[in-house]
């Protein structure tokens, strides 16, 4: 791997305002063992851009078993259309069976989404990331003002990497807006998930995703019933003492 942890801060600053294509090129040309994480939504632009840089890029999606039928169709369309190495990551069946046996199929409406997402998304993601030196995501700052304002175009992933096996994370779209992403989709005639045409902005699992109204933030379309509990762990700055 030509890019190491020591390069991250410098490159993040150097590439902070560069076109996503340049960030992708940097990633794909300097890290061999790298993959794009594809959610089946507007992060399709990453696959389109990457395919114009290199053939056979590794792409993976987290198949939770609860995605919309439209998303499955879209994943298959993308797999057919682009010259990529596509892989679907599935949850551990024993963990899903235990969750459903003990709490049913809709426990997230009662207990919050972390347990279900932990099993269906984070565990398979962790398994996949353990095999990589770097991953590429479609995360953007404008997706969630509350939680994504701090993301950089290049980061060291401290959640999934370790001191012994560091992991780099490229977020080429970090500084792009939703409008820029859709301008790219139109300009390059990139296929998109048909749910977008029905008011879905952020697309996740079927029970936990809903369409949003015009001018409503995309965050409102995910886990709308638990906004308050999500904030529970924060120590709110306004109340915090000064050093």
């Amino acid at each position: 791997m030509a890019i190491t942890r020591a390069d991250v801060a410098r490159l993040a600053s150097e590439y902070a305002a560069r076109h996503p294509r340049e960030i992708l090129r940097l990633a794909l040309e300097n890290v061999d063992n790298i993959a794009i994480s594809f959610s089946g939504a507007d992060d399709i632009v990453l696959i389109d851009m990457a395919s114009r840089i290199r053939k056979g890029v590794q792409v993976f999606s987290l198949d939770t078993g609860r995605l919309h039928p439209e998303t499955y169709k879209f994943l298959e369309l993308v797999r057919d259309r682009y010259d990529i190495r596509f892989e679907a990551m599935f949850p551990d069946h024993a963990a899903v069976e235990k969750l459903v046996r003990e709490k049913g199929l809709y426990s997230f409406f009662v207990d919050g989404h972390h347990e279900c997402c932990g099993i269906r998304k984070v565990m398979p993601l962790r398994r996949k990331l353990a095999t990589l030196d770097a991953w590429i995501t479609g995360q953007r700052r404008d997706q969630s003002p509350g939680t994504r304002l701090a993301i950089e175009v290049i980061e060291e992933d401290k959640s999934f990497g370790t001191a012994e096996k560091p992991l780099l994370k490229f977020n080429p779209l970090a500084h792009w807006t939703s409008a820029q992403v859709w301008e790219y989709i139109r300009d390059y005639e990139v296929p998109y998930n048909e749910l977008h045409a029905r008011g879905y902005v952020s697309i996740g699992c079927e029970p936990c995703t809903r369409a949003v109204l015009p001018n409503q933030h995309e965050r409102a379309g995910r886990w709308w019933w638990e906004e308050e509990t999500k904030k529970e762990c924060g120590l709110h700055a306004g109340n915090r003492g000064k050093p």
Binding site: I119, V122, S144, E232
Partner: protein, 111 residues
């Protein structure tokens, strides 16, 4: 080694659910006694011990742990399973670790 456990009281006076959950795990595993000091971060009181510690160390989530070694060096843990693994030599289940990662890494919220 000296371990400080900082837990939160919310602005409405109720205890933080996550803090209670972590405390319960420590109790059930018999490791609550490894905690030397419990500091309360009371959101209603910026001068409470926990709020001052959070400000001092630039931490904006609770619960968290401050581990001071005998040489005076301090390490902060905001992710419980990392604290449990590195300090208490105890591993959580993969499932619990995944759940914890989600609650502590806000960038994962729209996976």
């Amino acid at each position: 080694m000296h371990i400080t456990f900082v837990k939160k009281i919310k602005a409405d006076g109720s205890p933080c659910r996550k803090c209670a959950e972590v405390e319960q795990r420590l109790r059930e595993s018999g490791q609550l006694e490894r905690i030397d000091t419990v500091a309360i971060a009371d959101e209603r009181d910026p001068e409470s011990a926990g709020m001052l510690l959070a400000a001092k160390h630039g931490i904006d989530v609770a619960p968290f742990f401050i581990v001071r070694n005998d040489d005076g060096a301090e390490r902060i843990y905001t992710i419980y399973f990392q604290f449990a693994k590195e300090v208490l030599n105890r591993r959580l289940s993969e499932q619990d670790e995944a759940k914890e990662l989600l609650s502590r890494d806000p960038s994962l919220d729209l996976l």
